[in-house]
């Protein structure tokens, strides 16, 4: 294809589904999962409690639960529901599964540090992410069943999951980072084309939380890596 040909394409040409179909993915997965998403809510609230215990085992359990959330939202929402209408979403789904596996590997190979953290800030940011972001899909769709929960919806999972950057050691942090950035850019472009303006807050929040994750992570000198 010539350069001029490529210039004739717009972002719109690559999005092959409409906003109605996209927003219904949230409704459908919630209907199909019911009542198991309640467990996801409990886990989302429980994670900052675990982190606040300043105890290595609790912190590893918290990261382990985040790993599970990546895997479930990646395989469930992205591969299972989103993939059939959008191939890149399925690829991202598998990348989410890999990201979850990565966090699990960090848990089992000493990649979760036990240095002191600004727990209060971390907890507030976490709770903001898991309590506020889920309502955005609802705001765009007008249906409360579209709530995008942590561990179910990939956007909320990635946004809150960005805070794991503060919990893992330096090497793991850099391996964990690329998907967060790629996913944010991909979903921002998609939501822009779909004109789901409320949901567009999620990738922006994810990038801000990536920054927060680095900011809250212990200094290199303290990091055992």
């Amino acid at each position: 294809m010539s350069g001029a040909d490529w210039l004739s394409y717009s972002l719109q040409d690559f999005v092959m589904f409409g906003p109605q179909v996209f927003l219904r993915l949230f409704v459908r997965i919630n209907q199909d999962l019911w009542p198991w998403q309640l467990l996801a809510v409990v886990i989302a609230i429980f994670i900052p409690v675990l982190i606040s215990r300043q105890n290595r085992a609790a912190r590893r359990l918290a990261v382990g639960l985040m790993s599970l959330a990546w895997i479930v939202s990646g395989y469930g929402f992205l591969v299972g529901y989103f993939g059939p209408i959008n191939w890149p979403a399925a690829w991202f789904g598998w990348a989410f599964v890999a990201q979850g596996a990565l966090l699990a590997a960090a848990v089992f190979s000493g990649g979760v540090h036990d240095s002191r953290l600004a727990i209060g800030r971390l907890a507030v940011l976490w709770l903001l992410a898991v309590c506020v972001l889920p309502w955005l899909a609802m705001a765009d769709s007008g249906q409360w069943e579209a709530v995008g929960l942590f561990g179910v919806a990939p956007g909320t999972t990635a946004a809150a999951g960005a805070l794991a950057l503060a919990l893992v050691t330096r090497t793991w942090r850099w391996v964990y980072l690329p998907l967060l950035v790629l996913w944010s850019l991909f979903s921002a472009a998609l939501l822009w084309v779909l004109q789901t303006w409320w949901l567009l807050v999620t990738p922006v929040a994810t990038l801000l939380l990536v920054g927060a994750g680095f900011w809250l992570s212990p200094r290199t000198a303290q990091s055992p890596d």
């Binding site: 010539s2 719109q12 589904f17 529901y81 059939p84 209408i85 959008n86």
Partner: protein
């Protein structure tokens, strides 16, 4: 499809009669004509005619496994059939649209009513048959009426196989597609050299480049023309729907903007069929309305193009 023509005509006319009884105003268009016969176009070089308005499936039929939306899209297809439509265009590129079309056709028992057109969309030039077979399984049709090389991707290899497939009766017609005005020079060269039945290209009241070369060439070479993006992907409505139709719209057989855009296209003598896409039953009814009543003549077409430019 060809041997079903009598049955199809019967279904169309009985469907139309039913609709006309229920909604007599539908066909009483502003030009005063109450013609009940849809505008049909002959496929060049054959005795077969197809309705001048077909249906696209890009975006609109890609609803995945959403049963509620599959049911709703089935209603769209049902309306299309009831109003005399037959030509449906798809592509393996359109995500789940082929599976959704298959489900809708099953639900409506519509396999013998459809003129099924899809595309070959793979860079692997040896995979033509395999991709056609995969698509027929997804649509649930024995064979396609028309197979087109999507956006000229790997066209040399695909076209050779498609010619063999046509000769063997594995497909009835073959063609190539482009859109958004891309690669027109190469497209014209292929049209000049290859024995194509159809080309598919973008044409609408704003994107008129094809009037200069490709449409006259299709006429000269006896190639049918399927028009994609007749509403410029919907942006014609976004730009013009809030504007009034011209005073003389009725004289051109036009009662709403959908008819304005579509009648402009199908009144071009080289055009065989336009394939607007919609996800809504109401829009389908409007779009199919363009297939009934009078069509604008050459001077009215000029006025139509001038009018939208002036807005």
């Amino acid at each position: 499809m060809a041997n079903q023509i009598t049955r199809r005509k019967f279904l169309i006319s009985s469907g139309l009669a039913g609709i006309a009884l229920k909604a007599p105003m539908l066909f009483a268009n502003t030009s005063g004509s109450t013609a009940l016969s849809p505008t049909m176009r002959r496929i060049p070089g054959t005795d077969e005619s197809i309705p001048a308005i077909g249906m696209g499936t890009w975006i609109t039929f890609n609803v995945g496994g959403d049963e509620q939306l599959i049911t709703q899209r089935t209603e769209v297809l049902k309306t299309f059939f009831e109003l005399g439509g037959t030509v449906v265009d798809g592509s393996p590129m359109y995500g789940s649209a082929a599976d959704v079309m298959g489900e809708a056709l099953n639900a409506l028992d519509g396999h013998d009513r459809i003129f099924a057109a899809t595309k070959i969309w793979t860079g692997d030039e040896s995979a033509t048959r395999a991709e056609a077979a995969r698509s027929s399984r997804r649509w649930g049709v024995d064979r396609f009426d028309l197979l087109q090389v999507h956006n000229l991707l790997g066209w040399q290899g695909h076209l050779e196989t498609l010619k063999q497939m046509r000769a063997n009766g594995e497909v009835r017609y073959i063609g190539i597609t482009t859109s958004h005005g891309r690669r027109h020079r190469e497209f014209a060269q292929i049209m000049e050299r290859e024995p194509l039945d159809f080309v598919q290209l973008t044409y609408n009241v704003l994107d008129r480049e094809v009037e200069d070369r490709l449409l006259p060439l299709a006429q000269e070479r006896g190639i049918g023309v399927i028009v994609n993006r007749p509403f410029q992907g919907g942006s014609l409505f976004r730009r013009f729907q809030s504007e009034p139709l011209p005073d003389w719209a009725g004289e051109a057989g036009v009662g709403n903007w959908a008819e304005f855009f579509l009648k402009y296209i199908i009144s071009h003598p080289a055009v065989t069929c336009a394939i607007p896409a919609t996800s809504k039953v109401e829009h389908m009814k409007e779009n199919m309305g363009a297939m009934y009543g009078t069509l604008p003549d050459a001077s009215q077409r000029q006025r139509m193009a001038g009018y939208v430019r002036s807005l």
